[in-house]
């Protein structure tokens, strides 16, 4: 995969005496043991247990029944679709809003320090705390958001009570909480763009819009690729915010795979829950691997 792009700097390829290297291989072992036992082993075990009816004490092999159920039960399919919608909406908005905020914050604007801090701080706050706060703020009649809208004569929607809207409301809160991270990543990307490009564009008489479209946007592609990958994977895996705000409701309207996994776990359907894990894993692999390959390929052509 993109392992080769992640590799360290070249020029270290000299072959060292392997037998008594000053950089001993056993330095890997503490990390390797913890990682293997608590991450790799369960991951491989999940491939088997997802094919069983499982009580933690004994497992009955039932083939692909759990997966068949995932594709048959309407509320499980709903969870699958919701997961993708949620990931696309949150990562898309984070890219757009994050980039705009970063452009604003790297320009000659006043109070940059204040703006940067205020936008970034929610990243560090407890997700559940944010979720609960916004659940209160988004209450259809007593919530502050709709009361605020009422001042302007707008009747706010039932953010979390409308089944068609609940998932998007949670996604909005996710963007509120996470856009600060996208913004600082973009800021790091933008300040790394050499000034010469803008200088050249200025001499050619570029408008601010052309500056943005033909200089900034292509040259901050590494940042875009980081933001998309991070927030897309994060979006596909989201559990805590959804659980804190809607618990997948109303009905199953805002269930995602991660919340389905938890619900099936609570209900004692361990096999089905584990199958959910495998489905999520496949979904991430199927969507994210081509996505990162696409983003990196484009980058190579620049």
């Amino acid at each position: 995969m993109s392992a080769s792009t992640m590799a360290g700097s070249p020029g270290q390829t000299e072959t060292r005496a392997i037998k008594r290297s000053p950089y001993p291989g056993w330095f890997f072992t503490p990390a390797a043991i913890v990682y293997t036992v608590l991450f790799l082993a369960p991951t491989f075990a999940s491939l088997y247990f997802s094919l069983t009816r499982w009580t933690l004490f004994d497992a009955t092999f039932i083939g692909l029944d759990n997966f068949a159920q995932f594709l048959r039960e309407p509320f499980l399919i709903k969870g699958l679709i919701n997961t993708v919608i949620y990931a696309v909406v949150t990562s898309g908005l984070k890219v757009v809003v994050g980039l705009l905020l970063a452009v604003m914050l790297t320009s000659q604007i006043v109070a940059r320090g204040y703006l940067r801090s205020v936008i970034f701080f929610p990243v560090l706050v407890s997700t559940v705390g944010v979720g609960i706060t916004f659940t209160v703020l988004m209450h259809p009649t007593q919530g502050m958001i709709n009361e605020g809208l009422a001042i302007f004569g707008i009747t706010g929607p039932g953010w979390l009570t409308d089944p068609n809207l609940a998932l998007y409301s949670v996604a909005l809160v996710d963007v509120w909480k996470g856009v600060g991270l996208a913004t600082v990543i973009y800021i790091a990307g933008l300040v790394a763009i050499p000034r010469d490009y803008y200088e050249a564009a200025r001499i050619d008489g570029a408008t601010p819009w052309q500056n943005f479209w033909y200089v900034t946007l292509p040259l901050c592609r590494p940042a875009t690729s980081t933001v998309i990958t991070l927030s897309f994977i994060g979006g596909l895996r989201t559990f805590d915010l959804i659980w804190a705000m809607t618990k997948g409701g109303p009905g199953f309207a805002s269930d995602t795979i991660a919340s389905v996994i938890y619900k099936q776990y609570q209900a004692g359907f361990y096999g089905l829950s584990t199958a959910g894990n495998v489905v999520l894993f496949i979904l991430i692999a199927v969507l994210v691997v081509p996505l990162t390959m696409f983003l990196n390929r484009k980058q190579g052509h620049e």
Binding site: G8, T13, L38, F39, G129, T133, V136, Y262
Partner: protein, 275 residues
């Protein structure tokens, strides 16, 4: 002319971000100051009286001082797992950046997999039960270490490759053993990225809700994020206490933010430029 435009733009930006990002926090603080009756209105109003200390006391002593237990548990989990993470990840990052072996490809792949693959929850519980670690702080700590290793390793590896090899080679020529080279020469040089690691991972682990929910059930083992979850159902009407609780668990990240803002941003944006 241009200056005036930037001031107007700045004022608009300040106003907009204030409404979107600051008001929710002011709301939390105001709610924490209110008494139960007033907080039930859930409106954006000035508290009629100063009830913060009563609320804090009430929240802390609820459920047999669960909040204290939770803060202790969360602190233990955070401190121990971050310590292990730093040492384990620095060792891997160091050797990974310095030495080329045929294992490197596999290790890189495992690191990426660790960032992408969602943890298999129930099999992990099953395994922890087998190891008699389920529902214990030890188990929770090891899980946090395992899940957060890939990110820490990436930070360390990137930083190690910026440190000149001459430094550790000089120590090696002087006859220092690998462990001495690592702990006395390299690890101190890694201090900046260690601070970044400590800050970013502490915030993440302290705020972690999902993993304690799965792997650390039971009131005796509650972490701060779970107190919030318990309170939510218990105080479905006592909004003043709920928001006091939110305020209390927001203080640690706020302190980290005030003192380590730069390191957090450095850690979280690592790799953004290089891709």
């Amino acid at each position: 002319m241009k200056k005036r435009a930037s001031i107007i733009g700045g004022a608009a930006a300040i106003a907009a971000t204030f409404v979107v990002f600051v008001i929710p926090f002011i709301f939390i603080v105001l709610m924490a100051f209110k008494d139960r009756q007033q907080s039930a209105l859930r409106d954006f109003s000035w508290p009629t009286g100063f009830h913060l200390w009563e609320n804090v006391f009430e929240v802390v002593k609820t459920r047999n001082w669960m909040m204290i237990t939770a803060f202790i548990n969360s602190s233990i989990i955070t401190v121990v797992s971050v310590t292990l993470l730093v040492i384990f990840a620095a060792m891997v990052g160091y050797v990974l950046a310095r030495r080329r072996t045929r294992w490197n490809g596999l290790i890189e792949f495992l690191i990426l997999a660790g960032l992408m693959v969602p943890p298999a929850v129930v099999p992990t519980i099953w395994l922890l039960q087998g190891l008699k670690l389920f529902g214990t702080l030890h188990g929770m700590i090891l899980v946090e270490v395992a899940y957060n290793l890939p990110f820490s390793i990436i930070l360390y590896r990137a930083f190690v490759s910026t440190i000149p090899r001459d430094l550790d080679e000089a120590a090696i020529i002087d006859g220092a053993r690998p462990l001495d080279v690592f702990f006395r020469v390299v690890l101190p040089l890694l201090w900046p990225v260690t601070v970044t690691n400590i800050v970013v991972q502490s915030v993440g682990i302290f705020n972690d809700f999902t993993n304690p929910l799965y792997y650390l059930p039971g009131n005796a083992n509650a972490t701060v994020q779970l107190t919030l979850y318990n309170f939510q159902s218990q105080f479905s009407t006592a909004y003043n206490l709920l928001f006091t609780n939110i305020l209390l668990i927001t203080i640690p990240p706020l302190l980290v933010f005030l003192f380590f803002n730069r390191q957090i941003v450095a850690g979280m944006t690592a790799g953004a430029v290089k891709g």
